[in-house]
Symmetry: C2
Subunit: 388 residues, 2 copies
């Protein structure tokens, strides 16, 4: 009774709902998924999700008309009492995202608190683990030793500001006296130092791979790659609305020049096994290009380089730099890209160039496009090859 009254007091004055009482999404025994929303006044309710066949949508951007593959959309069916439902086909293990549209207005599923923000877009999410060892299994939390995730600030004299970064330290780090190798992991355009943990499930992937003995215990450093931002939304001085189309954020020169500030902080603050064989860099999209450029700038620093859906393209101006990169004999130079990704042409061009020059690189071609679903896979594959 006291508990009830306290709950009511909190409920009342905070407008906290007791939940909708509706289960959505519901993962059924046959791995289909049922979505439900109560919308008695609605005329049309639609579900968009990255598990539905994509559909072409025309947009205007920078004065050009472009067609892109948007997530599929289906009509939900109205049942008794204004409850709308949709049941998917059986799904594989994966982290899925979806949104609901009621009469043209996007709503979040009120029965599902799990949400991710990607740049300026929120979606509901759910993790499906169809069987042990599938992709979804790696993105789930299991009862294995867990690493720590810390949001810390460092000083960047080069950029003239304090900046925030995210650090994963593996389970046992605090009690150990060992030194650990470091993997610098860079986000894409419009992202921030939270993106790889929130959208990429970095902590879960590393926890699970390390527990299985498939990856070495390592420190993963996730800096903010938009050089003029201090920090992610909420941790930054202004309540800015992030955008993906700010071309200045594509610039890598400031990132290359200021990257030693990050490494100096990390090596002074954590128990780091330094040197070429203990240092990796990888990134997605803009961060992939940055990883490539960082290796060109500092050819003897990174023994492992990963380019996920974004590369530094070889041309006459950087041919000598490419030679220097491979003269240092990197342990791994790994390119991952989706067959439907607009960046595939450049990935193939880089692979062809390296083959012609006799530089050993790996190109991993996946299905799909420029999506987090691929970047989580690339992380899972790349992390297993590090520091061995």
């Amino acid at each position: 009774m006291a508990a009830l009254l306290m709950a009511v007091a909190a409920f009342g004055q905070q407008a906290l709902g007791p939940g909708t009482g509706i289960v959505s999404p519901e993962i059924n025994p046959d791995n289909t998924v049922t979505f439900r929303i109560l919308a008695p006044k609605a005329i049309q309710v639609q579900l968009s999700g990255d598990f539905l066949p994509t559909r072409p949508v025309e947009v205007e951007m920078g004065g050009q008309k472009l067609v892109y593959n948007a997530p599929g959309q289906v009509d939900m069916q109205e049942g008794r009492d204004g409850m709308w439902t949709y049941t998917s086909v059986p799904l594989e293990g994966e982290l899925y995202s979806y949104t609901i549209t009621v009469d043209g207005q996007k709503v979040m599923d009120p029965s599902n608190i799990y949400q991710n923000r990607d740049v300026a877009t929120w979606t509901n999410i759910f993790v499906m683990s169809a069987r042990q060892g599938d992709k979804g299994w790696y993105y789930q939390v299991h009862d294995v030793p867990h690493g720590s995730v810390s949001h810390v600030w460092y000083d960047s004299p080069t950029l003239g500001m304090q900046r925030r970064l995210t650090v994963y330290t593996p389970a046992g780090y605090e009690r150990s006296k060992d030194k650990y190798p470091v993997f610098y992991l860079l986000h894409g355009s419009g992202g921030d130092e939270d993106a790889w943990c929130d959208l990429g499930r970095t902590a879960q992937i590393l926890d699970n791979l390390i527990a299985e003995g498939k990856a070495k215990p390592m420190i993963v450093v996730m800096p903010n790659g938009v050089y003029f931002n201090q920090a992610a939304p909420g941790a930054a001085v202004n309540m800015f609305q992030p955008t993906m189309t700010n071309s200045r954020s594509q610039s890598t020169i400031e990132v290359e020049n200021s990257f030693p500030d990050i490494m100096r902080f990390v090596e002074n603050t954590y128990r780091v096994a330094k040197g070429y064989a203990n240092t990796a860099v990888a990134g997605l999209s803009m961060g992939g290009r940055q990883s490539g450029m960082l290796s060109l700038h500092y050819p003897k620093t990174f023994g492992y380089v990963g380019l996920f859906s974004g590369v530094a393209v070889p041309d006459d101006s950087n041919a000598d730099a490419f030679k220097a990169v491979f003269a240092a004999k990197p342990k791994l130079y790994w390119i991952g890209c989706g067959k439907e990704d607009g960046v595939m042409a450049n990935s193939l061009k880089l692979k062809e160039y390296c083959d012609k020059m006799g530089f050993p690189v790996t190109l991993y071609e996946s299905d799909g496009g420029h999506i987090w679903r691929n970047w989580r896979v690339y992380l899972t594959l790349f992390a297993q090859q590090l520091f061995k």
Copy 2:
């Protein structure tokens, strides 16, 4: 051009919007705030916000009809092209929350990425700083030295599981050799180890108070107080939907018995200045009651005790325990409660009892009810009195 194409590639296949192009909320020079949403098909669009006068709403809960004060709601006005707007009166500095309802369906403001989750309820938020030094100013990020926020796991042999907690370490901790006092800060029913940082702006409040010399540098430990949960949603094994009405979570016995597991971990992992004069505990609602019960159980452990909108009520069964608490001469025993809070009666009862017994306690009575707006204020006031 390359930047544009990369942005389109990402935009396309992830369904990332380029933003709505609408500014909402817009803080105007006279401290009024304008909200905007495009909803051309809508018949009625309403704004609910904690800056609007509350309204009584009747709900049924556990078979009883109860009336509570819900956040105020106003109609937004439709303008040209289906743009609905509302402009508030001038607002004071504060962290505000709001939601929009379109034809009876709650939507998040699509132009504002800033959101908070409280138990199972998402709202949009904005921080308004009307002038330097007001409440909103303390909740904003300023260009001062920033502490770190870490999510770490510890072993609880008492509860038989690994559990997650959040640790704030003040700016300079990593480079210092000093030992720091520890403040254990507990959340309310249905909350988790993320609540005090996400909703309570703990890192910002501490950063700002420490930078001004108003609070001592300290470690703040924010454990998970729902003893049968390992971690917050997203970091836990199951994708559970949190609820506030689970009466088991009101139990404090397991929390009292297992609290030494937390203190042992913290004292073995961080550079901690141990002992009564260097150890504080406070919490809100359920966490306030837990703080009171922890001090009754361990009367020589916490030199500072804070009960925010939740207390342990004195009765015949715990009279000796209360005597033991005050025999140890706590540096501070501080009760904070809102005049409209259902817990005020118990707060007054405790104050009256302590006065009668000659126990020195402080009762801080604020306006308003059982709301985060008050708990942020209580934290700001309480933190300034610690370890001095």
